[in-house]
Symmetry: D2
Subunit: 139 residues, 4 copies
Amino acid sequence: MTLALNREELTDYLAEVFPQIRDDFAIDDLTENTITMRLLTDDRHLRPGGTVSGPSMFALADVAVYAMVLARVGKKALAVTTNCSLDFMRKPEAGRDVIAHCRLLKLGRVLAVGDVLMVSDGGDKPVARATLTYSIPPR
Amino acid sequence: MTLALNREELTDYLAEVFPQIRDDFAIDDLTENTITMRLLTDDRHLRPGGTVSGPSMFALADVAVYAMVLARVGKKALAVTTNCSLDFMRKPEAGRDVIAHCRLLKLGRVLAVGDVLMVSDGGDKPVARATLTYSIPPR
Amino acid sequence: MTLALNREELTDYLAEVFPQIRDDFAIDDLTENTITMRLLTDDRHLRPGGTVSGPSMFALADVAVYAMVLARVGKKALAVTTNCSLDFMRKPEAGRDVIAHCRLLKLGRVLAVGDVLMVSDGGDKPVARATLTYSIPPR
Amino acid sequence: MTLALNREELTDYLAEVFPQIRDDFAIDDLTENTITMRLLTDDRHLRPGGTVSGPSMFALADVAVYAMVLARVGKKALAVTTNCSLDFMRKPEAGRDVIAHCRLLKLGRVLAVGDVLMVSDGGDKPVARATLTYSIPPR
């Protein structure tokens, strides 16, 4: 059980297959079962009142699990999200990055499941959580 | 049980509180318990391969339920999403709007629940479904 | 697109593979894309206060989607639930059966998705909703 | 931030308000933000093949979050589940208790959110996960 892609390879591959989001996210940390993904919060991620929008938090959780799965199975850009549950619990702090702590709970032949706890950078209370299922294309 | 805001009033109010999304969505239809919301699909909503991205579909479902709730309770911009479940079932057709058919399932004093079935414009098979819970601020 | 099992065959097969629940559920109606499943409410389904318990409503939604999938793919007892989202919206009425109206939203090679709206028998307001994903074993 | 009920008080109160489940569950551990709840697996919790049934795992997750909330807010039997998401990831091992590790993620005035990771006793791979939202009755 080792990583198919290390942090640098994964960063490069995400930038290659999703060039439009390369300025939105950064990988802070990667292990065999966890990834820490950062939303580089910018005006375009905010909703009125200055907090990070729901779609931006969905995108963060989605890319975190996607990246975790690719880190393990290699360059399979066609993995697709089949299911997501999200709980929004507190308002993210304005002007802060959002940090997603993702754990890989299952990596099957066909399905992978990861959950994600999101906090404002420097904060300790969860602002949101998510669980996502990815369908992995056959070899 | 009547609407607090009609279609025109609701469209204007959404444009006022969320000016950044006024070119993304249009309300096709509104009744006391249902709303039909259209994602005016544009390049910025797409992911590689030309299909509508997950965050764009989340945003569509989220704004549909938000608009439905406001149509009933009036101008309470501060209603917030507390929970969302999403199932992605088919690839949306490239170059088509996505149409969200939303039903209000519950409108309580504190919580509102709506579900959403999404199809590609002109198609009949669901591309995704979602259920969202909104917390309604006290009067 | 026709049914692999009709209502009688499906009832018999469920009784064969899940004998312990044969007195709990009845199929009221079955079409190619919908099933109506009834929880034959009894003391063992209740929680204090006389309303139907959460686990009983989960079981009803779960068996409804399971039966719908089997009606289409035939006798594949080993289909397993991989994901479920549930919203509990109103207290079921005491002493009434709960009726689950299930729609099949997707029947893929590997995954099937169905959603379920639950009402108290004779009532019209939803008491709960659910969406379930089943993984279908390979032929 | 202290516990309103300790482990013994909580065990007694659950037995008082839900006498029908007193033989199904035991509290292994309780802290200010976590609870470990055990399903005392018995024949009535199994499905064909000898694995723990979906409704029994739902019930375990549900009672774990309920107990965690009561441990903090005190004897408010009327707290009700409003939402649940569940992912079933592996077959529980036959003949083993299922252990639910629950974390309280939010305890608001109106809503509480907890997530739950379930493993077979003695195993380390998650068999299922769940997140539940409870609505807390006003004082």
